[in-house]
């Protein structure tokens, strides 16, 4: 099931928690939502699921707005557990079995066992990580078409984090659409096909992880003295940012790194090298304060 978010905005008083967000998530994709604390990730999820009233904009699932018949197909794991925490884990499974036609209780019990959770325990007696695991186990037994997971690995040990990521891969392999947020960029980098980065409610970057990595590079060059001209790069839309430090210049290329490398060589640069960026580098660049992204390329 594809998801189309169009011009979504959510204001709380003067605060623009989500500001004109448009993103399309193709069916069967694992989609990672990244952003610093307070960027609007959870608010976006709540608006998608009708848990918060949108100020503006729409969210469509396979072209249709959210209505009760869709509830069976969509599952949400909130960041802060809203489990009925006085219930025993086994009772939570039973409650879901009664509530959702497609729910596979046996699958839920298998997953709970994988996470090492005793189903006789009351939810409130579990650690934070184990509560996450309960929510995840129940969600992945729903056989949903869309899974929206807010920090689905938080509080889990590395083994169980990997279990959760593999469950996501498994869901995507059977055609489900998985949208998740995480502060652990390494996880997003590994499991997500596409990502969006939010910052202060705005979309700052969106794309396929592998394409972003293939295209975004740093091109570094050393010049014989400090008076060199980079006019060749002025106005080039592929140049994201230019950092100068004495005779060394580092150009963040959004694309066309090899051509930018040649331009720097033509301008008299030596020791030109192209440096790969991982998702963390790309993320930090995307959410860097505006003052750090000076795009002045005229010669000094």
């Amino acid at each position: 099931m594809s998801i189309k978010i169009s011009h979504l905005s959510k204001r709380y008083g003067a605060l623009r928690a989500v500001d004109d967000l448009s993103v399309e998530i193709p069916s069967g994709t694992i989609f990672g939502l990244l952003g610093p604390n307070g960027a609007g990730k959870t608010t976006t999820f709540k608006c998608m699921l009708g848990l918060a009233r949108t100020t503006d904009g729409t969210v469509a699932f396979d072209g249709k707005l959210l209505t009760p018949p869709l509830f069976e197909s969509i599952v949400y794991v909130p960041e802060r557990d809203v489990l009925y925490d006085w219930m025993r884990v086994g009772e939570l499974v039973e409650m879901n079995r009664r509530g959702f036609k497609r729910f596979k209780a046996q699958r839920a019990l298998e997953l709970l066992q994988m996470f090492g959770i005793d189903t006789r325990k009351r939810a409130r007696s579990l650690s934070k990580g184990m509560k996450t695991a309960v929510a995840v186990a129940i969600a992945f037994a729903r056989e949903a078409d869309v899974l929206v997971l807010d920090e689905p690995t938080s509080g889990l040990d590395p083994v169980n984090q990997r279990h959760v990521l593999n469950l996501m891969v498994n869901e995507a392999a059977r055609g489900a659409t998985v949208v998740f947020s995480s502060h652990q960029i390494g996880q997003v980098e590994r499991a997500a096909e596409r990502i969006a980065i939010l910052d202060r409610g705005k979309l700052v970057l969106e794309g396929a992880v592998d394409d972003l990595k293939a295209n975004r590079k740093i091109v570094e060059a050393i010049f014989p003295n400090e008076t060199y001209s980079l006019n060749g790069l002025a106005g080039d839309p592929r140049v994201g940012r230019v950092d100068r430090s004495g005779r060394i210049v580092r150009v963040t290329a959004l694309d066309g790194a090899d051509e930018i490398a040649r331009t720097l060589e033509t301008a008299g640069g030596t020791g030109v090298r192209v440096i790969d960026l991982n998702l963390e580098d790309i993320f930090l660049y995307a959410v860097a304060p505006a003052s750090a992204t000076a795009d002045v390329v005229e010669g000094s």
Binding site: G28, T29, I30, R162, L165, N166, V169, N170, A172, A173, G186, E189, R190, A191, A192, E193, V209, D210, D211, K213, A214, K217, T270, G271, V272, R273, V274, I275, D276, L277, N278, L279, E280, D281
Partner: protein
């Protein structure tokens, strides 16, 4: 399944490219033999914990480069004439990237074409002594 792939998700090299290069290397080294079946997209995605579409993209590239062939319903297999042309081509693809990086670095450090040729010839002499 005697295929051992690893991906470094934190690397700046796209994951599909890492998979492509490792399969080519395995084919060239004979770790993957002609006719051998590769894991399904789903299985490899789970083994590596990466997106199934990423694995599918790697398999498409490998198919385009003639390293594997996929028949619907049966799976993906290492292409036929394992010993010769196809694996040699695959090996060349893998090596080209390494050499590209080294030559770039050498040029950056100011080595001339003939300097570099000297280094390469000496290296070749050491590794292929019988052809001197």
């Amino acid at each position: 399944m005697p295929i051992l792939l690893t991906v470094d998700a934190r690397s700046g090299v796209p994951i599909y490219q890492q998979i492509v290069e490792q399969v080519k290397r395995s084919a060239a080294l004979g770790v993957l033999q002609a006719g051998e079946q590769l894991p399904t997209v789903k299985q490899l995605a789970l083994d590596l914990t990466v997106n199934p579409n990423t694995v599918a993209r790697a398999y498409r590239d490998l198919e385009r480069d003639g390293v594997i062939e996929t028949s619907p319903g049966r799976g993906s297999f290492v292409r036929g004439d394992g010993t010769s042309a196809s694996t040699r081509l695959a090996a060349r693809d893998v090596v080209r990237r390494t050499i590209e990086g080294s030559v770039r670095e050498a040029k950056a450090m100011g080595l001339s074409r003939s300097d570099l040729r000297g280094v390469i010839d000496a290296t070749l002499d050491r590794w292929f002594p019988e052809e001197q």
